[in-house]
Protein backbone atom coordinates (compact mmCIF):
# COMPACT_ATOMS: atom_id res chain seq x y z
CA UNK A 1 0.00 0.00 0.00
CA UNK A 2 1.40 3.40 -0.80
CA UNK A 3 1.65 6.26 1.68
CA UNK A 4 -1.50 8.02 0.46
CA UNK A 5 -3.64 4.92 0.81
CA UNK A 6 -2.19 4.29 4.24
CA UNK A 7 -2.92 7.83 5.37
CA UNK A 8 -6.49 7.63 4.12
CA UNK A 9 -7.00 4.34 5.89
CA UNK A 10 -5.68 5.77 9.14
CA UNK A 11 -7.98 8.80 8.91
CA UNK A 12 -10.97 6.52 8.26
CA UNK A 13 -10.19 4.40 11.28
CA UNK A 14 -9.72 7.47 13.45
CA UNK A 15 -13.09 8.77 12.39
CA UNK A 16 -14.72 5.41 13.00
CA UNK A 17 -13.40 5.23 16.53
CA UNK A 18 -14.38 8.82 17.28
CA UNK A 19 -17.90 8.08 16.02
CA UNK A 20 -17.96 4.93 18.09
CA UNK A 21 -17.20 6.89 21.25
CA UNK A 22 -19.84 9.50 20.65
CA UNK A 23 -23.26 8.30 21.58
CA UNK A 24 -25.70 9.96 19.17
CA UNK A 25 -28.74 9.14 21.26
CA UNK A 26 -27.19 10.93 24.19
CA UNK A 27 -26.08 13.89 22.08
CA UNK A 28 -29.45 14.51 20.42
CA UNK A 29 -31.38 14.02 23.64
CA UNK A 30 -29.07 16.51 25.35
CA UNK A 31 -29.51 19.03 22.56
CA UNK A 32 -33.26 18.64 22.77
CA UNK A 33 -33.18 19.16 26.55
CA UNK A 34 -30.96 22.22 26.17
CA UNK A 35 -33.35 23.70 23.64
CA UNK A 36 -36.18 23.24 26.14
CA UNK A 37 -34.12 24.89 28.87
CA UNK A 38 -33.23 27.95 26.83
CA UNK A 39 -36.45 29.61 27.95
CA UNK A 40 -37.19 27.68 31.12
CA UNK A 41 -33.76 28.12 32.70
CA UNK A 42 -31.30 30.02 30.49
CA UNK A 43 -28.46 29.79 33.01
CA UNK A 44 -28.69 26.02 33.13
CA UNK A 45 -28.92 25.89 29.34
CA UNK A 46 -25.63 27.79 29.02
CA UNK A 47 -23.91 25.47 31.48
CA UNK A 48 -25.24 22.47 29.63
CA UNK A 49 -23.80 23.69 26.34
CA UNK A 50 -20.38 23.89 28.00
CA UNK A 51 -20.77 20.42 29.52
CA UNK A 52 -21.73 18.93 26.16
CA UNK A 53 -18.86 20.67 24.45
CA UNK A 54 -16.39 19.25 27.02
CA UNK A 55 -17.67 15.75 26.44
CA UNK A 56 -17.42 16.02 22.66
CA UNK A 57 -13.90 17.33 22.94
CA UNK A 58 -12.92 14.53 25.26
CA UNK A 59 -14.46 11.93 22.92
CA UNK A 60 -12.24 13.15 20.16
CA UNK A 61 -9.11 12.59 22.20
CA UNK A 62 -9.78 8.98 23.07
CA UNK A 63 -7.66 7.09 20.59
CA UNK A 64 -4.47 8.99 21.20
CA UNK A 65 -3.13 6.21 23.46
CA UNK A 66 -2.47 8.81 26.09
CA UNK A 67 -3.71 8.89 29.61
CA UNK A 68 -5.24 11.72 31.60
CA UNK A 69 -5.25 12.36 35.31
CA UNK A 70 -8.10 10.72 37.12
CA UNK A 71 -9.13 14.16 38.36
CA UNK A 72 -9.62 15.33 34.79
CA UNK A 73 -11.53 12.17 33.90
CA UNK A 74 -13.77 12.66 36.92
CA UNK A 75 -14.53 16.23 35.77
CA UNK A 76 -15.70 14.89 32.41
CA UNK A 77 -17.81 12.25 34.12
CA UNK A 78 -19.40 14.94 36.29
CA UNK A 79 -20.22 16.97 33.16
CA UNK A 80 -21.72 13.88 31.59
CA UNK A 81 -23.79 13.16 34.69
CA UNK A 82 -24.99 16.76 34.87
CA UNK A 83 -26.44 16.31 31.38
CA UNK A 84 -27.99 12.97 32.21
CA UNK A 85 -29.56 14.60 35.25
CA UNK A 86 -31.31 16.98 32.88
CA UNK A 87 -32.91 13.97 31.24
CA UNK A 88 -33.66 11.82 34.23
CA UNK A 89 -34.18 14.51 36.87
CA UNK A 90 -34.86 12.76 40.14
CA UNK A 91 -34.80 9.31 38.55
CA UNK A 92 -31.01 9.40 38.68
CA UNK A 93 -29.08 9.61 41.96
CA UNK A 94 -25.29 9.67 42.07
CA UNK A 95 -23.00 8.77 44.94
CA UNK A 96 -19.24 9.30 45.07
CA UNK A 97 -16.66 7.54 47.19
CA UNK A 98 -13.34 8.89 45.96
CA UNK A 99 -10.00 8.47 47.67
CA UNK A 100 -8.31 11.85 47.25
CA UNK A 101 -4.95 10.22 46.68
CA UNK A 102 -6.16 8.58 43.50
CA UNK A 103 -6.85 11.92 41.83
CA UNK A 104 -3.44 12.23 40.20
CA UNK A 105 -3.29 8.67 38.92
CA UNK A 106 -3.13 8.42 35.13
CA UNK A 107 -6.13 6.68 33.56
CA UNK A 108 -7.22 6.08 29.96
CA UNK A 109 -9.54 8.95 28.90
CA UNK A 110 -13.29 8.22 28.72
CA UNK A 111 -12.89 4.84 30.37
CA UNK A 112 -14.72 5.73 33.55
CA UNK A 113 -17.20 7.66 31.40
CA UNK A 114 -17.90 4.52 29.34
CA UNK A 115 -18.61 2.49 32.48
CA UNK A 116 -20.92 5.16 33.85
CA UNK A 117 -22.68 5.50 30.50
CA UNK A 118 -23.28 1.75 30.43
CA UNK A 119 -24.55 1.81 33.99
CA UNK A 120 -27.11 4.39 32.97
CA UNK A 121 -28.01 2.85 29.62
CA UNK A 122 -28.50 -0.71 30.88
CA UNK A 123 -29.42 -0.04 34.46
CA UNK A 124 -31.06 3.28 35.19
CA UNK A 125 -32.80 3.99 31.91
CA UNK A 126 -34.47 0.56 31.95
CA UNK A 127 -36.13 1.06 35.33
CA UNK A 128 -39.35 3.02 35.44
CA UNK A 129 -38.36 4.69 38.69
CA UNK A 130 -34.70 5.06 37.75
CA UNK A 131 -32.02 4.23 40.32
CA UNK A 132 -28.64 4.96 41.86
CA UNK A 133 -25.16 5.04 40.37
CA UNK A 134 -22.16 4.91 42.71
CA UNK A 135 -18.62 5.75 41.66
CA UNK A 136 -15.75 4.43 43.78
CA UNK A 137 -12.05 5.08 43.38
CA UNK A 138 -9.44 3.66 45.72
CA UNK A 139 -6.21 1.73 45.99
CA UNK A 140 -6.29 -2.03 46.46
CA UNK A 141 -2.97 -3.87 46.75
CA UNK A 142 -0.93 -2.52 43.85
CA UNK A 143 -3.92 -1.45 41.82
CA UNK A 144 -5.92 1.66 41.29
CA UNK A 145 -9.46 0.37 41.41
CA UNK A 146 -12.32 2.11 39.63
CA UNK A 147 -15.75 0.75 40.44
CA UNK A 148 -19.13 1.74 39.07
CA UNK A 149 -22.19 0.27 40.74
CA UNK A 150 -25.74 0.69 39.56
CA UNK A 151 -29.12 -0.57 40.70
CA UNK A 152 -30.54 -2.85 38.08
CA UNK A 153 -29.96 -6.13 36.33
CA UNK A 154 -27.24 -7.57 34.19
CA UNK A 155 -29.68 -9.51 32.00
CA UNK A 156 -28.87 -9.81 28.33
CA UNK A 157 -25.36 -8.54 28.37
CA UNK A 158 -22.62 -10.62 29.91
CA UNK A 159 -19.07 -9.85 30.86
CA UNK A 160 -17.74 -7.64 28.14
CA UNK A 161 -20.39 -7.43 25.44
CA UNK A 162 -21.57 -4.18 23.96
CA UNK A 163 -19.20 -2.04 22.00
CA UNK A 164 -18.28 0.25 24.86
CA UNK A 165 -17.29 -2.60 27.11
CA UNK A 166 -15.28 -4.62 24.59
CA UNK A 167 -13.42 -1.47 23.69
CA UNK A 168 -12.64 -1.09 27.39
CA UNK A 169 -11.05 -4.53 27.43
CA UNK A 170 -9.08 -3.76 24.27
CA UNK A 171 -7.80 -0.44 25.50
CA UNK A 172 -6.71 -1.91 28.80
CA UNK A 173 -4.73 -4.67 27.14
CA UNK A 174 -3.15 -2.22 24.68
CA UNK A 175 -2.00 0.03 27.49
CA UNK A 176 -1.19 -2.46 30.22
CA UNK A 177 -0.85 -5.86 28.56
CA UNK A 178 -2.30 -8.42 30.91
CA UNK A 179 -1.58 -6.37 34.00
CA UNK A 180 -4.97 -4.64 34.05
CA UNK A 181 -8.28 -6.29 34.94
CA UNK A 182 -11.89 -5.63 34.01
CA UNK A 183 -14.96 -7.38 35.26
CA UNK A 184 -18.68 -6.74 35.38
CA UNK A 185 -21.14 -8.79 37.40
CA UNK A 186 -24.36 -8.85 39.37
CA UNK A 187 -23.20 -8.57 42.99
CA UNK A 188 -26.64 -8.97 44.51
CA UNK A 189 -30.12 -9.34 43.02
CA UNK A 190 -30.48 -5.61 42.45
CA UNK A 191 -26.93 -4.33 42.11
CA UNK A 192 -24.58 -4.50 39.14
CA UNK A 193 -20.89 -3.72 39.51
CA UNK A 194 -18.26 -2.92 36.91
CA UNK A 195 -14.70 -2.83 38.11
CA UNK A 196 -11.45 -1.80 36.42
CA UNK A 197 -8.10 -2.40 38.05
CA UNK A 198 -5.09 -0.55 36.72
CA UNK A 199 -1.55 -1.17 37.95
CA UNK A 200 -0.48 1.74 40.09
CA UNK A 201 1.89 4.26 38.60
CA UNK A 202 4.43 4.84 41.27
CA UNK A 203 6.23 7.88 39.91
Amino acid sequence: MDTLQLETLIKELELKTIKAHINPHFIFNSLNSIRALVEENPQRAREAVTELSNILRSSMQVEKAETVSFEKELDIVKDYLALENMRFEDRLKIEYDIDEDTLDQPVPPMMLQTLVENAIKHGISKQINGGVVKIISDFKDHYHELTVQNTGYLNGYSNTEGFGLSSTTNRLSLLYGDKAKFEIKQVNPTLVEAKVQIPVNTV
Binding site: P24, H25, I27, F28, N29, L31, N32, S33, R35, A36, L37, E39, E40, M86, R87, F88, E89, S125, K126, Q127, I128, G130
Partner: protein, 242 residues
Protein backbone atom coordinates in the same frame (compact mmCIF):
# COMPACT_ATOMS: atom_id res chain seq x y z
CA UNK B 1 -57.82 16.99 17.51
CA UNK B 2 -57.07 15.68 20.98
CA UNK B 3 -53.51 14.53 21.62
CA UNK B 4 -51.41 12.94 24.35
CA UNK B 5 -47.62 13.22 24.54
CA UNK B 6 -45.80 10.10 25.74
CA UNK B 7 -42.11 10.52 26.59
CA UNK B 8 -40.14 9.70 29.72
CA UNK B 9 -38.24 13.01 29.64
CA UNK B 10 -40.08 16.00 31.06
CA UNK B 11 -38.00 18.46 29.04
CA UNK B 12 -38.74 16.60 25.81
CA UNK B 13 -42.48 16.75 26.53
CA UNK B 14 -42.20 20.46 27.38
CA UNK B 15 -40.31 21.16 24.18
CA UNK B 16 -42.89 19.37 22.02
CA UNK B 17 -45.75 21.15 23.81
CA UNK B 18 -44.08 24.44 23.04
CA UNK B 19 -43.80 23.61 19.32
CA UNK B 20 -47.42 22.50 19.20
CA UNK B 21 -48.57 25.92 20.38
CA UNK B 22 -48.29 26.89 16.72
CA UNK B 23 -50.91 24.30 15.82
CA UNK B 24 -54.14 25.31 17.54
CA UNK B 25 -56.01 22.46 15.86
CA UNK B 26 -54.07 20.07 18.10
CA UNK B 27 -55.09 20.15 21.76
CA UNK B 28 -52.76 18.43 24.24
CA UNK B 29 -55.12 16.84 26.75
CA UNK B 30 -52.54 14.92 28.80
CA UNK B 31 -48.99 13.58 29.08
CA UNK B 32 -47.53 10.23 30.09
CA UNK B 33 -44.01 9.30 31.23
CA UNK B 34 -44.00 5.59 30.37
CA UNK B 35 -45.92 2.88 28.52
CA UNK B 36 -48.13 1.83 31.45
CA UNK B 37 -49.21 5.40 32.11
CA UNK B 38 -49.71 5.79 28.37
CA UNK B 39 -52.03 2.80 28.13
CA UNK B 40 -54.12 3.96 31.08
CA UNK B 41 -54.52 7.47 29.75
CA UNK B 42 -55.20 6.41 26.17
CA UNK B 43 -57.88 3.97 27.25
CA UNK B 44 -59.58 6.44 29.55
CA UNK B 45 -59.30 9.61 27.50
CA UNK B 46 -59.48 8.33 23.91
CA UNK B 47 -57.12 10.80 22.22
CA UNK B 48 -57.25 11.07 18.43
CA UNK B 49 -53.47 11.33 18.26
CA UNK B 50 -50.42 10.42 20.31
CA UNK B 51 -46.82 11.55 20.08
CA UNK B 52 -44.89 8.48 21.12
CA UNK B 53 -41.24 8.21 22.13
CA UNK B 54 -39.80 4.89 21.10
CA UNK B 55 -37.18 4.46 23.79
CA UNK B 56 -38.78 4.43 27.19
CA UNK B 57 -38.00 2.50 30.39
CA UNK B 58 -39.95 -0.73 30.81
CA UNK B 59 -42.07 -1.32 27.69
CA UNK B 60 -41.09 0.15 24.33
CA UNK B 61 -43.47 2.29 22.30
CA UNK B 62 -44.17 -0.62 19.90
CA UNK B 63 -45.04 -2.97 22.77
CA UNK B 64 -47.44 -0.41 24.15
CA UNK B 65 -49.22 -0.09 20.83
CA UNK B 66 -49.64 -3.85 20.49
CA UNK B 67 -51.43 -3.87 23.81
CA UNK B 68 -54.01 -1.26 22.92
CA UNK B 69 -57.44 -2.37 21.78
CA UNK B 70 -57.73 0.42 19.27
CA UNK B 71 -54.85 2.70 18.35
CA UNK B 72 -55.17 6.41 17.78
CA UNK B 73 -53.09 8.04 15.07
CA UNK B 74 -49.42 7.96 16.00
CA UNK B 75 -46.45 10.20 15.36
CA UNK B 76 -43.30 8.53 16.69
CA UNK B 77 -40.38 10.51 18.14
CA UNK B 78 -36.77 9.51 18.71
CA UNK B 79 -33.44 11.22 19.30
CA UNK B 80 -31.57 8.50 17.48
CA UNK B 81 -32.31 4.83 17.33
CA UNK B 82 -30.97 2.82 14.42
CA UNK B 83 -33.39 -0.05 14.82
CA UNK B 84 -36.44 2.11 15.26
CA UNK B 85 -35.48 4.31 12.34
CA UNK B 86 -35.19 1.26 10.11
CA UNK B 87 -38.60 0.02 11.28
CA UNK B 88 -40.10 3.43 10.57
CA UNK B 89 -38.63 3.56 7.08
CA UNK B 90 -39.53 -0.01 6.15
CA UNK B 91 -43.09 0.39 7.36
CA UNK B 92 -43.63 3.98 6.18
CA UNK B 93 -44.51 5.17 9.67
CA UNK B 94 -44.52 8.82 10.57
CA UNK B 95 -41.70 9.90 12.86
CA UNK B 96 -39.91 12.99 14.08
CA UNK B 97 -36.25 13.27 15.11
CA UNK B 98 -35.49 15.17 18.28
CA UNK B 99 -34.75 18.10 18.49
CA UNK B 100 -37.84 18.47 16.31
CA UNK B 101 -37.70 20.81 13.37
CA UNK B 102 -40.90 22.88 13.19
CA UNK B 103 -41.19 22.31 9.44
CA UNK B 104 -41.06 18.53 9.85
CA UNK B 105 -43.68 18.74 12.57
CA UNK B 106 -45.90 20.76 10.24
CA UNK B 107 -45.51 18.13 7.49
CA UNK B 108 -46.41 15.30 9.86
CA UNK B 109 -49.48 17.13 11.12
CA UNK B 110 -50.60 17.87 7.56
CA UNK B 111 -50.66 14.15 6.89
CA UNK B 112 -53.02 13.37 9.73
CA UNK B 113 -56.59 12.50 8.96
CA UNK B 114 -58.77 15.02 10.64
CA UNK B 115 -61.58 13.02 12.16
CA UNK B 116 -64.99 12.47 10.70
CA UNK B 117 -67.01 15.09 12.58
CA UNK B 118 -68.67 13.47 15.53
CA UNK B 119 -72.21 14.53 16.33
CA UNK B 120 -72.51 15.67 19.95
CA UNK B 121 -74.66 12.71 21.00
CA UNK B 122 -72.54 9.98 19.51
CA UNK B 123 -69.41 10.92 21.43
CA UNK B 124 -70.59 9.54 24.74
CA UNK B 125 -71.95 6.50 22.98
CA UNK B 126 -68.56 5.78 21.51
CA UNK B 127 -66.80 6.01 24.84
CA UNK B 128 -69.27 4.03 26.86
CA UNK B 129 -69.40 0.88 24.80
CA UNK B 130 -65.99 -0.04 23.57
CA UNK B 131 -67.13 -1.71 20.39
CA UNK B 132 -64.66 -1.20 17.60
CA UNK B 133 -66.08 0.20 14.39
CA UNK B 134 -64.79 0.03 10.84
CA UNK B 135 -63.00 3.34 11.08
CA UNK B 136 -60.99 2.35 14.12
CA UNK B 137 -57.47 1.19 13.50
CA UNK B 138 -55.37 -1.42 15.24
CA UNK B 139 -51.60 -1.77 15.45
CA UNK B 140 -50.30 -5.08 14.15
CA UNK B 141 -46.70 -6.19 14.43
CA UNK B 142 -45.20 -9.29 12.88
CA UNK B 143 -41.44 -9.60 13.20
CA UNK B 144 -39.92 -6.51 11.60
CA UNK B 145 -43.08 -5.48 9.82
CA UNK B 146 -45.80 -3.45 11.42
CA UNK B 147 -48.99 -1.77 10.27
CA UNK B 148 -51.77 0.49 11.33
CA UNK B 149 -54.77 -1.29 9.86
CA UNK B 150 -58.27 0.11 9.59
CA UNK B 151 -60.78 -2.53 10.59
CA UNK B 152 -62.59 -1.87 7.33
CA UNK B 153 -59.55 -3.27 5.49
CA UNK B 154 -59.58 -6.58 7.32
CA UNK B 155 -61.31 -9.36 5.43
CA UNK B 156 -60.94 -12.22 7.85
CA UNK B 157 -59.74 -13.33 11.27
CA UNK B 158 -58.64 -16.97 11.53
CA UNK B 159 -57.94 -18.64 14.84
CA UNK B 160 -54.50 -20.22 15.31
CA UNK B 161 -54.25 -21.55 18.86
CA UNK B 162 -54.26 -18.51 21.17
CA UNK B 163 -53.55 -16.21 18.27
CA UNK B 164 -55.55 -14.89 15.36
CA UNK B 165 -54.34 -14.52 11.80
CA UNK B 166 -55.40 -11.16 10.38
CA UNK B 167 -56.08 -11.07 6.64
CA UNK B 168 -55.72 -7.68 4.93
CA UNK B 169 -54.22 -6.75 1.59
CA UNK B 170 -51.57 -9.37 0.89
CA UNK B 171 -50.74 -9.83 4.54
CA UNK B 172 -51.63 -12.40 7.14
CA UNK B 173 -49.79 -11.49 10.35
CA UNK B 174 -50.65 -12.97 13.73
CA UNK B 175 -51.95 -11.04 16.70
CA UNK B 176 -52.13 -12.25 20.28
CA UNK B 177 -55.91 -12.21 20.62
CA UNK B 178 -58.35 -15.08 20.72
CA UNK B 179 -61.32 -15.15 18.39
CA UNK B 180 -63.70 -14.96 21.34
CA UNK B 181 -61.98 -11.83 22.66
CA UNK B 182 -62.16 -10.28 19.20
CA UNK B 183 -65.82 -11.18 18.77
CA UNK B 184 -66.68 -9.28 21.94
CA UNK B 185 -65.09 -6.09 20.68
CA UNK B 186 -66.06 -6.17 17.02
CA UNK B 187 -69.24 -4.64 15.66
CA UNK B 188 -71.47 -7.61 14.84
CA UNK B 189 -73.13 -5.69 12.04
CA UNK B 190 -69.86 -5.86 10.12
CA UNK B 191 -67.91 -8.78 11.56
CA UNK B 192 -69.64 -12.14 11.57
CA UNK B 193 -68.52 -15.33 13.33
CA UNK B 194 -68.88 -17.79 10.48
CA UNK B 195 -67.65 -20.83 12.39
CA UNK B 196 -65.48 -21.73 15.36
CA UNK B 197 -62.31 -20.69 13.57
CA UNK B 198 -63.34 -17.70 11.47
CA UNK B 199 -64.69 -14.18 11.78
CA UNK B 200 -65.59 -12.64 8.43
CA UNK B 201 -65.99 -9.00 7.36
CA UNK B 202 -69.42 -9.04 5.75
CA UNK B 203 -68.45 -6.23 3.37
CA UNK B 204 -65.64 -8.33 1.96
CA UNK B 205 -67.88 -11.11 0.69
CA UNK B 206 -67.78 -11.66 -3.07
CA UNK B 207 -69.89 -14.81 -3.39
CA UNK B 208 -72.31 -16.80 -1.28
CA UNK B 209 -73.18 -20.39 -2.18
CA UNK B 210 -75.18 -23.04 -0.40
CA UNK B 211 -73.05 -25.78 1.13
CA UNK B 212 -73.38 -29.21 2.80
CA UNK B 213 -75.78 -29.76 5.64
CA UNK B 214 -77.63 -26.51 5.33
CA UNK B 215 -74.48 -24.43 5.57
CA UNK B 216 -73.03 -21.78 3.29
CA UNK B 217 -69.72 -21.21 1.54
CA UNK B 218 -68.51 -17.63 1.46
CA UNK B 219 -65.87 -16.48 -0.98
CA UNK B 220 -64.06 -13.35 0.13
CA UNK B 221 -62.43 -10.66 -1.97
CA UNK B 222 -59.01 -12.17 -1.29
CA UNK B 223 -60.12 -15.53 -2.64
CA UNK B 224 -60.51 -17.17 0.76
CA UNK B 225 -63.33 -19.70 0.99
CA UNK B 226 -64.99 -19.85 4.39
CA UNK B 227 -67.65 -22.28 5.51
CA UNK B 228 -70.51 -21.03 7.58
CA UNK B 229 -71.68 -23.60 10.09
CA UNK B 230 -75.31 -24.63 9.95
CA UNK B 231 -76.14 -22.88 13.18
CA UNK B 232 -74.45 -19.70 12.08
CA UNK B 233 -76.12 -19.93 8.67
CA UNK B 234 -79.48 -19.51 10.41
CA UNK B 235 -78.16 -16.35 12.07
CA UNK B 236 -76.62 -15.19 8.82
CA UNK B 237 -79.86 -15.47 6.94
CA UNK B 238 -81.67 -13.63 9.69
CA UNK B 239 -79.16 -10.82 9.58
CA UNK B 240 -79.33 -10.52 5.82
CA UNK B 241 -83.10 -11.08 6.00
CA UNK B 242 -83.07 -13.54 3.14
Amino acid sequence: MKAIIIDDERLARAELKKLLQDFPEIEIIDEAANAEEGITKIESQHPDLIFLDIQMPGKTGFDMLSQLERTPQVIFTTAYDEFALRAFEVNALDYLLKPVEPKRLADAIQKLHFAETKEPGSETENFNNSILTENDQVFVKDGERCWFVKLSEIRLFESVGNYAKVFFGNNKPLILKSLNALEERLDEKTFFRANRKHIVNLRMIDKIEPYFNGGLLLELKGGEKIEVSRRQTVKFKEMMSL
